[in-house]
Assembly symmetry: C2
Homo-oligomer: 241 residues x 2
Amino acid sequence: MTNGKEATLHHRILSDIEGRIVSGEWPPGYRLPFEVDLAVQYGCSRMTANKVLTHLARAGLIERRKKSGSFVSQPVTQAAVLEIHSIEAEVRSLKLPYSYRLERRVRREASPIDRQHLELTETASVLDLVCLHHAGGRPFCLEERLINLMTVPEAEGEDFSKSAPGTWLISQIPWNTAEHRIYAQSSSAEVAKTLDISRNAACLVVERRTWGSDGPVTFVRFTYPGERHALVARFTPGAGS
Amino acid sequence: MTNGKEATLHHRILSDIEGRIVSGEWPPGYRLPFEVDLAVQYGCSRMTANKVLTHLARAGLIERRKKSGSFVSQPVTQAAVLEIHSIEAEVRSLKLPYSYRLERRVRREASPIDRQHLELTETASVLDLVCLHHAGGRPFCLEERLINLMTVPEAEGEDFSKSAPGTWLISQIPWNTAEHRIYAQSSSAEVAKTLDISRNAACLVVERRTWGSDGPVTFVRFTYPGERHALVARFTPGAGS
DNA sequence: TGGGCAAACATGTATATACATAATAATCCG
DNA sequence: CGGATTATTATGTATATACATGTTTGCCCA
């Protein structure tokens, strides 16, 4: 998305203003020049200045008030972007050989706990899957997944013995909303055995709930063993330009 | 930022197209109507249609190719936005009384480990702080922080006995880049004692490194006790409209 | 003095227009 | 027939213009 070398007037003005804000030259609360003044300053029309300011406002770097002008916003909350790829991509980016094994595949009526996980109010059929992802011959991640067969009936025809359900699902459900919960947990005896780690070792758990346009799609819990894993997130204000 | 009730032509067109994409009516790879056709369809000028499409492209929902047209993009990686507020705001949002205590405040030359944490190549003076955040009378979060006195010399004049360094820093350093690492760790004897939890209990650790325009600013490690805490991140494609 | 009205001001939105650019389609000619 | 040239097409960027909208400022008059 960010080419780094776009020399349009728009980009020049944008990165110039962005630079002043990021560098602190224009501190939070500072009122930037009016649109017309910016237009004169950069030798462009007001429309172009307006576009740039609209852009900055959408990125959260500035706030705009009619009559008063545009102001550099206070950095209130820091938003970090966590990119969550597929497990296979994650392993391969570590230059490790990847393998996958399906441990369990059960079709059943949703239990109360299942319904809570999927945020279902009514009863429904679900597919209960457990898979194990390996990296370099060692257990890398335990995946426990519920698929809502009301919204993804096609899942019943897949056996998921060869490839992970996440990859298949993403090609089936076009777009969605997702909610993530990230927490630490001591490994239970069962998890410790599966992941080949000691009992009570700290695990990083990432839970994800996904919705499509027809309702809840899937709930998945990834358990990463031990203290070897970390999620890394980078944040730069105004990113995405 | 998102008002929810803006009835401008721009917003109507945008949410209509967004809806078609999110609902799957226009699946990944689908070529949307040309700008001129959209303009006719919605009864607006090409400029308005162009703005909407530019907007969608920036949000990552579509990709645009000259001559060929605009296409719904493949959902490749899921990006979750983690909002990281101040600890105090976090505690207060849980409707719990908040208190803060400074445990240590040492000024020293950066050790090799400090330099690694701050990504410093040369030697420098740092401020080493340890603070404890309480929620409802119980330890909520352990904060271990290094402040680079090369970039923030003003920090030496602050004693941080009353308020947390994070709040003060955010008002001093205008904008920055940050990198986060999130992982699980068994509590050491020392951490267990400080946080009043059992030895080897799983803790969620969030490390953050921050840069200003003059270089590395601060390194901080937040250790959340036990399994009571979770980071929650929500993701909707095209969010931020 | 103060309440209210009007002017001005800055942004917000939308249009028509123009030309640049990149990729494809059509054509021409050896 | 096939490679090179030209035309067409759709997007990309920028401008000038117009009017709407929400604030502030100041003025007028009771």
